[in-house]
C-alpha cells in the first residue's frame, strides 16, 4: 500500500450541541483523490476547515507528511504544502484575477518584507501566476477584476489560486458548486489532469464527478464517517444507500 500523506485521528468538533465532526478517522494516500461525500450539514466543510487550520478542533489529531500539525496555524500549513479552496468563493474581489493568483505565488517565494520593487512588474511572480491561470483556462481574463468574473469563473479562479501555491495536497470544497453542466465537465477534466500528481481531498455533491475522479470515497453523515472504500464498494454499500445515496434519486 502507498504511503499516507494525511492522517486524521479521532477528530472532533462541536458547535453547541451539534457534533459537526464526531471522531473522524481518515487517511489520504500519496497521489490519491479521496472524495468525502455526505448530505448537507454532514460536517464536510467543518472537516476541511479543521484540516486547513481555519478552525480549531476540540479533540483528535491531524498529521501531514508524518508531522503533527494539529496546532499549526493555517498559513504554516499552506507553507508546508497544503492548499484549500472554499465552498463559498473567497477571493480578493477588488483585485485583478492575475493579482489574486500572483499573491499566492508570492506567499511561497520567500517572505514579503520587500518594500521597494513593484510586485506587479515582477516577472517571476506574474509568469508563474499565468501558468496557473492557464491550467484552469482563465488566461484571457487575467486583467479583469475578480469581482467581475461569472460564478463559474470564480470557482476556476479558486482552483488557480490553490494551484499557485504549488501544493502537494489540496482540500477542495465543492469545486463544482453552482456550475452548469458544461462548466462542471471542464472542471472534472481539469481535476483529472491533476490526478496522481497531487493528493486531493475532494468534497463534492455531483456524484458523476465523484465517481469519475475518486480513487476512494468516505461517507460522512452527522459528523461520522460511516464508510470508506473503493467507489464500487461505496455504491453497493447498504448503510450508505440507506443513509445517503438511496434518498435522492439520480
Amino acid at each position: 500500500m502507498a504511503e499516507t500523506i494525511l492522517e486524521v485521528r479521532d477528530l472532533s468538533k462541536s458547535f453547541g450541541g451539534v457534533h459537526a465532526t464526531a471522531n473522524v478517522t481518515l487517511d489520504v494516500l500519496h497521489g490519491e483523490t479521496h472524495a468525502v461525500i455526505g448530505p448537507n450539514g454532514a460536517g464536510k466543510t467543518t472537516l476541511i476547515s479543521q484540516l486547513s487550520g481555519d478552525l480549531k478542533p476540540d479533540g483528535g489529531s491531524i498529521s501531514f507528511k508524518g508531522r503533527d500539525i494539529t496546532s499549526l496555524p493555517a498559513y504554516q500549513r499552506s507553507l508546508t504544502g497544503m492548499a484549500r479552496s472554499f465552498q463559498i468563493t473567497s477571493l480578493l474581489m477588488g483585485m485583478s484575477v492575475l493579482d489574486n493568483v500572483s499573491l499566492a505565488v508570492q506567499a511561497h517565494d520567500g517572505h514579503s518584507f520587500r518594500f521597494w520593487t513593484p510586485a506587479r512588474k515582477d516577472r517571476k511572480l506574474r509568469d508563474k501566476a499565468m501558468q496557473s491561470l492557464q491550467v484552469v483556462g482563465l488566461q484571457d481574463r487575467a486583467g479583469e477584476l475578480a469581482g467581475a468574473l461569472s460564478h463559474g469563473e470564480r470557482r476556476q479562479l479558486e482552483i488557480a489560486v490553490a494551484l499557485a501555491t504549488e501544493p502537494q495536497f489540496m482540500l477542495l470544497d465543492e469545486p463544482m458548486a453552482g456550475m452548469g453542466a458544461e462548466e462542471s465537465a471542464r472542471m472534472v477534466e481539469m481535476l483529472s489532469g491533476l490526478k496522481g500528481e497531487k493528493s486531493i481531498l475532494l468534497v463534492e455533491h455531483d456524484m458523476d464527478a465523484v465517481f469519475a475522479l475518486a480513487d476512494r470515497i468516505s461517507v460522512l453523515v452527522y459528523g461520522q464517517v460511516i464508510a470508506t472504500g473503493l467507489p464500487e464498494e461505496i455504491r453497493t454499500n447498504e448503510k450508505v444507500r440507506d443513509a445517503y445515496l438511496g434518498e435522492g434519486d439520480e
Binding site: 492548499a83 483585485m95 485583478s96 493579482d99 518584507f113 518594500f115 513593484p118 510586485a119
Partner: protein
C-alpha cells in the same frame, strides 16, 4: 507618481503625459500648487498663508501615514494623534532640558537627535500597542487604539515637569545643518520635501510585495492566511512604519507651532486625521492631502461662524462616508473617466 489601478492594468503611455489619468493630474496639480503658492504668498507679504500651508503639509504627512494602514491596510486606527504628540515632545523635551538643565542624557537642540528620538519612540510605541490591538478586529480595534491614544494623552497631562495640560513652549527649534527652521519658508520647504518623501515611500511600498500583502489582508484576511501569509506580522510592520512616519510629522509640527501640549494628541485630533483620509479618499496616494486641504479650509471657514464648528464638521464626515465612498479622489477619478 500615479496610483497603479488595483486591477493591475498599466495605463497606455505612448507619450510622457498621454497615459496620465485624472488621478495623476490631481496628484501633480496638488503638489505643484503646494510648491508654488506658499513662497509667492510669502513674497507678496502674506506670511499667514505660509503658516497655514506649513500646518497643512504637516497634517498631510500625518494623514498620509494613517492612510497607509487605514486606506491600504484596512486598520482603522483611532489613536494616531498619539504619534504626533510623541514626535512633538521628542523636540520639546530634549530642548527643554538643553535650556533648563537636568537629564543631560537627552538634553539637546540637535535636529537629527530629535528626529531619531521621534522615529524610535513612535516605532516602539506602535510595536507594543500594535501587537495588542491587532489581535482584535472591527470596532474593537477602533476602541483599543483610541484607548492607547488616550493613555499617552493622560501620560503627558500628568507630567508636570513639561507643563502638564498647560503644555510646553519650545524656546529653541531643532538645529539642522544648512537650514534654519526659524525662517518660515525654510521650515515650509523642509515640511514640503518631507511630504514628497512620505508620498514616494508610500507609493513604492503599496506597490511592493509588502504592499500587496497588506492590501490582500485588508480585502480578505482568511484567504491570505490560507495561501500562506502570516497576516498579523505584515499588519504589525505596516502599523509600525505608519506610526514612525506620523511621529516624524509630529517632529515637524512641534517645530512649526513651538508650543506643544497634550491637546495635540486628544482623540478628537485622531478623529480629524481619519476625517482627512476618508474625505480625501482612502487608499489613494494624494487623497489624504486633499482631505487635509478640505479640513483646513472648513476649519477656517466654519470656526469663523461658530465655536461649535465640530458639529457641522461631524455631519459632513458622515455625509461623506455615506455618499462619497471614494472621497474627493473618488470624484476626481470618476470625473476623469467621464471626460476622458
Amino acid at each position: 507618481m500615479s496610483d497603479t489601478p488595483l486591477n493591475g492594468a498599466t495605463p497606455r503611455s505612448s507619450g510622457l503625459l498621454s497615459g496620465w489619468t485624472a488621478t495623476t493630474w490631481a496628484t501633480a496639480i496638488c503638489l505643484v500648487l503646494l510648491a508654488v503658492v506658499p513662497p509667492v504668498s510669502f513674497y507678496a507679504g502674506q506670511p499667514f498663508h505660509v503658516d497655514l500651508a506649513t500646518r497643512l503639509v504637516c497634517l498631510s504627512i500625518a494623514a498620509v501615514s494613517l492612510n497607509l494602514i487605514l486606506g491600504y491596510g484596512g486598520m482603522v486606527s483611532f489613536g494616531h494623534a498619539a504619534f504626533i504628540g510623541i514626535g512633538a515632545y521628542s523636540v520639546g523635551i530634549p530642548a527643554y532640558h538643553a535650556t533648563y538643565g537636568e537629564f543631560d542624557l537627552i538634553a539637546s537642540y540637535n535636529g537629527w537627535f530629535h528626529i531619531a528620538l521621534a522615529l524610535v519612540v513612535s516605532a516602539i510605541f506602535a510595536a507594543i500597542t500594535g501587537a495588542i490591538s491587532l489581535r482584535t478586529r472591527g470596532v474593537y480595534f477602533i476602541m483599543i487604539t483610541m484607548a492607547f491614544g488616550q493613555m499617552v494623552f493622560f501620560l503627558f497631562v500628568s507630567m508636570e515637569t513639561y507643563g502638564g495640560d498647560d503644555g510646553l513652549t519650545i524656546d529653541v527649534r531643532s538645529e539642522l545643518p544648512l537650514i534654519d527652521l526659524d525662517k518660515p519658508l525654510q521650515l515650509y520647504f523642509l515640511c514640503y520635501g518631507s511630504l514628497l518623501g512620505a508620498l514616494f515611500i508610500v507609493h513604492r511600498m503599496v506597490n511592493s510585495r509588502f504592499g500587496m500583502a497588506i492590501q490582500g489582508a485588508k480585502g480578505n484576511e482568511l484567504r491570505m492566511q490560507s495561501i500562506g501569509y502570516n497576516t498579523y506580522v505584515y499588519r504589525l510592520v505596516a502599523y509600525i512604519i505608519s506610526g514612525a512616519m506620523c511621529g516624524y510629522a509630529g517632529f515637524l509640527l512641534g517645530n512649526f507651532t513651538t508650543f506643544i501640549s497634550p491637546e495635540m494628541m486628544d482623540w478628537t485630533r485622531s478623529g480629524e486625521l481619519m476625517f482627512m483620509v476618508i474625505l480625501g479618499g482612502a487608499a489613494t496616494l494624494v487623497g489624504p492631502i486633499l482631505g487635509a486641504v478640505a479640513f483646513i479650509l472648513l476649519e477656517e471657514i466654519l470656526s469663523g461662524f461658530t465655536i461649535y464648528w465640530h458639529l457641522p464638521f461631524g455631519v459632513l464626515l458622515i455625509l461623506c462616508v455615506l455618499f462619497a465612498r471614494g472621497g474627493l479622489m473618488g470624484f476626481v477619478s470618476q470625473w476623469g473617466r467621464r471626460n476622458g
